[in-house]
Structure formats: structure tokens, C-alpha cells
């Protein structure tokens, strides 16, 4: 039996920050991470090899629904921060105020969050590109300028040397920032350990049962006792673990994501940088629609055209002049996470409303409009029965017959698996992440957000996690 004061399950942005904060405050901290520790740069960013090594189920995860939504979760030390685009938005004060009112969340004003956000921005070296952005990013800027739409460069957690261009930055992921800090402050970080369930007695978690995976495949049972348990395994795995442990009230019933539609655009000149993503986003329709650029290696371009790749084979043959773009939306609809007996992975479903479907079609139209305004020669929306558009006029025809069920949807932003708030009828935890009905069980990751925020959420997730750590350390919770 292993004993520790504080056990943190998961080492993504929420878990890594929690580990650093609590260890630096002199607490005894142990972090359990299911995946491996992979150094930044070991895999080509956004490659199929990276997907296999650092994504849960190698990226083969889907929320069932009509249409289904493919989602991806990071797996390994650092979680999603190791594989995402690194785009940072400071928590939106208006949104925080709105959440505080609508979901009865205490101490969630800009004043409560600002100091935490500033510390995170400093640690992660948040900044804009000192040199040139990628050509694929300029496309967004140019299209928006032509249409008179608001667009801006989104800062990233990236260190740039001198006047480096966008693709030459060094990502400041959790394995480069908060996890080393936690370790330096005395935290122990165990990788390759999957938590199977939490054992509860009354209002307390009295034991954590896990399995250590050895290199030869041998599964070693591990039992841990901790005074406090923080579950930080992400918006899907956190509720799944709680459900497996018999904690079900308002757990896994309100998953919120930003479904994305995608399109490939082809230009006269080279635009593609496979190892990087564009940093510009169109904010004209925020927070309902946000338009930006995706990783665009030939495999990802082909994937966006599947199952019609062979019809548009010139796109990948000539991949340097093509790039992939997305329009992300907020939804009224919500998803469910269901941990099923005997299964390792939960069943995830997502129900889009009619209004969500219309919004997604509208988002696709806006994005295609932007790409033609930026000078695209052809645009290929990622839909079933893909089409090639040559002019903005083709868009009108597409808009008339495009149905939500035709859209190929995916998402990388997963939130709200165990929402916070004082309203026990709706929230899974209190305003600071303590699970309702428990004294020593807390959630501190993207699960807490009551909604998907309409922007890249990592900054908001980390700022709220930092605030919760401060509340925990102050002994108020």
C-alpha cells in the first residue's frame, strides 16, 4: 500500500498545474499518469506517429450521434498540452461573469482569476510570433481583411528565439513547465499507471486502486491511500472514473464540445507548413463561431477528403499549395459519458439540436466564403460526397443542399464532464471543484467548465484550476 497526502490522477494542464501549486506549497504530492512521458520533439508534431503515441486510442475515439463527432484526447504526461495547437486565450471576463450568475459559481469574477492567469501566462511564455506567421495563417488574415471581418493573431505558449518565425518556436507544454516544477518541489510522478477505481466510504475516498503497466505487459495492481484525491483526467476520463467508482450524481451528463467543420483550400502559391498550425482566428462571429487553421500534413488533407480522396487526388499530390481550415461552434446540445461494465473505455454520445445543425452549416458557409475572399482557387468542404467549389457562387448552391448530417465533424475541445456550481441539482462539484457529497474528492480539469467557452479553452481551464488550488491551500475548501 502506497501512502501520500495528495494524489493527483492525470497530468494534463489541470493535473500538472495542481501538482506544481500544491507541491510548491510544501504538500506531499503524487501524480499518476496512465500514458508515458514523451519528450517534446520525439515525434513530428501532428503526425500519424504522434497520434499513435500521444493520443488516447491513437485518436480512434468517437461520440455517437447524428452526425457522429470524432474527438481526440491527449494521453501521456502533459496530456492535451503536448499535442494541441498551443493557442491561448485569457479567460473572458464577460463569460466568467455569465457562468457565475447562471451556474451559481462563487468567486469567478475577473478579479478572482486575473492573478492566476498572469502567472500562467508568465510560466508558459505566452506571446505572439516575433517573425513571420505561416502563409496558411496569412490566408485567414487576408480573407478577413477583404471581408471586413474581425480577426487576430492568437498568442501561444511558445518560446521564440530572437525574431523566429512561427514554425521555429519551442512549445511550452506541461512536460516543460509545470511538471518539472512539481518534481523539483518534491512531487513524485508515476507514468504507466491507470486508475481503475476509487473506493469510497461515507463522505471519503479511502483507497485508490490502479494498475501499473510494466514494459513486458505485466499488469501490477497498485493500491494507494491519500488524504486528498484530485481527479484531473479530462472531460471524458474524469467522469468515467467517477462513474466506475459509483459517483454518478451530475457526472457525465452534460459534456460540451466545440464541433468543428473543416474544408481544404487550394491556392496558387505554397501555403502548407505540415508541422505547424495557423495562429490567426476570425472573431467576427465569436463566441458562436470561430474560424482558424488546422495542421495540414498530406495525411490530414486526405483524411478531410475521405471517402472521396481519389476524386480529388491532386490536392494531396500538390499538398504544398493546400491547407486545412476549420470553423468551430458552440452548441445547445450536450453529450453523455457512460462507463459500461467490463469495458475500459466509456461510451460517449452527443446530441446536436436542430439549431446546432443550422449553426454548423452556417459556419461552413462562412469559412468557405473567407477562403475564397483570401484567394483560394478551389475549396473542398469536408462532407460526405465531397464537392469541389471554384467560386463563391458555388457556395450558394452548396448552401441550399447541405444538411447537418452530411458534415464530417470533429472536436478537440472537451468540457463540462463534471460541471462546478453551488446548485446541487445541476452541478457535480462545488464552486471550487470539491465533489458534492465528499470531503476529500476534487475535480480540477476541463470537466469543471459549465459550458464550452467558444474559444481554445486551456487558458480558462488552467486559471480556474489555479484558483481552486489557492482555495484548497487557504483551507476554505
Amino acid at each position: 500500500m502506497i501512502r501520500t497526502e495528495i494524489l493527483i490522477i492525470g497530468s494534463g494542464p489541470g493535473g500538472a498545474l495542481t501538482a506544481a501549486r500544491l507541491a510548491e506549497a510544501g504538500r506531499e504530492v503524487m501524480v499518476l499518469e496512465e500514458g508515458d512521458w514523451v519528450e517534446v520533439g520525439e515525434y513530428e508534431p501532428f503526425s500519424l506517429e504522434q497520434m499513435a503515441a500521444q493520443y488516447r486510442s491513437a485518436g480512434q475515439t468517437v461520440a455517437l450521434g447524428r452526425p457522429p463527432i470524432i474527438y481526440t484526447e491527449g494521453r501521456g504526461a502533459g496530456g492535451g498540452s503536448e499535442v494541441n495547437s498551443g493557442l491561448y486565450h485569457r479567460p473572458d471576463p464577460e463569460l466568467l461573469g455569465d457562468w457565475a450568475r447562471r451556474f451559481a459559481i462563487r468567486d469567478l469574477s475577473e478579479r478572482d482569476i486575473a492573478e492566476h492567469a498572469r502567472e500562467i501566462e508568465k510560466t508558459l511564455s505566452i506571446g505572439t510570433v516575433p517573425g513571420d506567421v505561416t502563409p496558411a495563417s496569412s490566408v485567414i488574415e487576408r480573407g478577413a481583411a477583404t471581408l471586413g471581418w474581425a480577426a487576430r493573431e492568437v498568442p501561444r505558449w511558445m518560446v521564440y528565439r530572437d525574431k523566429a518565425d512561427a514554425a521555429d518556436g519551442e512549445r511550452q507544454t506541461m512536460t516543460r513547465t509545470y511538471l518539472p516544477r512539481a518534481r523539483e518541489a518534491g512531487a513524485s510522478i508515476l507514468t504507466g499507471v491507470r486508475v481503475d477505481r476509487l473506493v469510497k466510504r461515507g463522505r471519503r475516498i479511502v483507497e485508490v486502486r490502479a494498475t501499473k503497466r510494466h514494459p513486458d505487459g505485466y499488469p501490477e495492481p497498485v493500491r494507494i491511500r491519500a488524504e486528498h484525491v484530485f481527479v484531473c483526467a479530462g472531460a471524458i476520463q474524469t467522469p468515467a472514473l467517477l462513474q466506475r467508482s459509483g459517483v454518478r450524481k451530475n457526472v457525465g451528463r452534460t459534456l460540451a464540445v466545440h464541433p468543428m467543420v473543416k474544408a481544404v483550400a487550394r491556392f496558387d502559391d505554397a501555403v502548407n507548413v505540415p508541422s505547424d498550425v495557423p495562429v490567426h482566428q476570425v472573431k467576427e462571429f465569436a463566441p458562436h463561431i470561430s474560424i482558424g487553421g488546422s495542421a495540414s500534413g498530406p495525411g490530414l488533407l486526405g483524411l478531410a477528403l475521405a471517402p472521396e480522396w481519389a476524386r480529388f487526388a491532386e490536392v494531396t499530390a500538390d499538398w504544398e499549395r493546400s491547407s486545412l481550415y476549420y470553423a468551430a461552434t458552440r452548441t445547445e446540445g450536450r453529450g453523455h459519458i457512460n462507463a459500461l461494465p467490463l469495458l475500459r473505455d466509456p461510451l460517449v454520445t452527443y446530441r446536436l439540436t436542430r439549431a446546432d445543425g443550422k449553426m454548423l452549416v452556417h459556419a461552413m458557409m462562412r469559412m468557405v466564403h473567407l477562403l475564397f475572399a483570401a484567394g483560394a482557387r478551389q475549396v473542398y468542404p469536408s462532407i460526405n460526397g465531397a464537392v469541389e467549389l471554384h467560386t463563391a457562387a458555388d457556395l450558394t448552391e452548396l448552401g441550399l443542399r447541405l444538411k447537418p448530417r452530411d458534415l464530417n465533424l470533429m472536436t478537440v475541445h472537451l468540457c463540462s464532464g463534471v460541471p462546478m456550481g453551488e446548485d446541487r441539482a445541476r452541478a457535480g462539484t462545488d464552486s471550487f471543484g470539491r465533489v458534492h457529497g465528499f470531503d476529500n474528492l476534487r475535480v480540477n480539469d476541463s470537466s469543471l467548465l459549465p459550458e464550452a467557452p467558444g474559444l481554445n479553452p486551456q487558458g480558462t481551464i488552467m486559471a480556474i484550476a489555479s484558483r481552486n488550488c489557492a482555495a484548497f491551500l487557504a483551507g476554505t475548501r
Partner: protein
């Protein structure tokens, strides 16, 4: 010895790739199919169970055809895939999309120009 669903997914994948990716040579098709089955093996369990169940039903059909007609199992798989290729059957659509998406990602990544110059017939019919 591979389990039944995995063998069925492998058989289906070989046949579907042969039909949809005729521009790949035999080695390319083989490594693409291997990639798809490897990814299926690590897919989330609901995805694995759903697609594995559908593939197993199709596999039983293919093996039945082979046994009754005395044909080669690979030919039987091809017959099943060709018969179903333009049908939107529940489960089948998801399975074929799973295989084609993964195969496309892999093939486009490794041989981005492989399909260029290839004339594609109407969706659902065999490409020439």
C-alpha cells in the same frame, strides 16, 4: 491466432482497400491494411466492439459464400464488399468509413501523389 472480430476486420479491410484504392500497388495496399488493423486494435472499445461486430457478420457471410460456392475466401470478401459498396446500411457505413478514413490518412501521408491521374467512376462503382 487472431480473434474472430480482428480476422473479420482484416478480411474486410483487405477487400475494401482493393476496391477503393486500386491505384496502390500490392505492397502499398498491404502496409495500408496493416496500419488500419493496427489502429483498430487500439481504438476505443465502443468503436472496436461496434465495428468488430459488423465485420464479424460480414465475415460470416463471406466465409459462407466461400464454403457454399467453393470460392477463394478473398474472392468471397470482394463479392460482399462490392455488393454492399453503394448501400447505406446501418453499421456498414460506419465500418467502411472507419476503414476508408484511416486508409486514406495513411496512404495520403505516405504516397500523397498515388491517386493523382487516376480517373474515378461515379461514387459506389468500381474505379478504373
Amino acid at each position: 491466432m487472431r480473434a474472430l472480430p480482428e480476422r473479420a476486420v482484416a478480411g474486410f479491410t483487405d477487400a475494401l482497400i482493393a476496391e477503393r484504392f486500386p491505384f496502390l500497388d500490392a505492397d502499398q495496399r498491404e502496409s495500408t491494411a496493416r496500419f488500419v488493423v493496427d489502429r483498430w486494435r487500439v481504438a476505443s472499445q465502443p468503436v472496436q466492439l461496434g465495428t468488430g461486430a459488423v465485420a464479424s457478420v460480414l465475415g460470416a457471410t463471406a466465409w459462407g459464400l466461400a464454403a457454399l460456392g467453393g470460392s477463394d475466401p478473398d474472392d468471397a470478401w470482394r463479392t460482399v464488399v462490392q455488393r454492399l459498396s453503394d448501400r447505406m446500411l446501418p453499421g456498414y457505413s460506419e465500418l467502411s468509413l472507419f476503414v476508408v478514413s484511416l486508409a486514406t490518412a495513411y496512404a495520403a501521408d505516405h504516397w500523397p501523389g498515388a491517386a493523382a491521374g487516376f480517373t474515378v467512376a461515379a461514387p459506389g462503382s468500381a474505379a478504373r
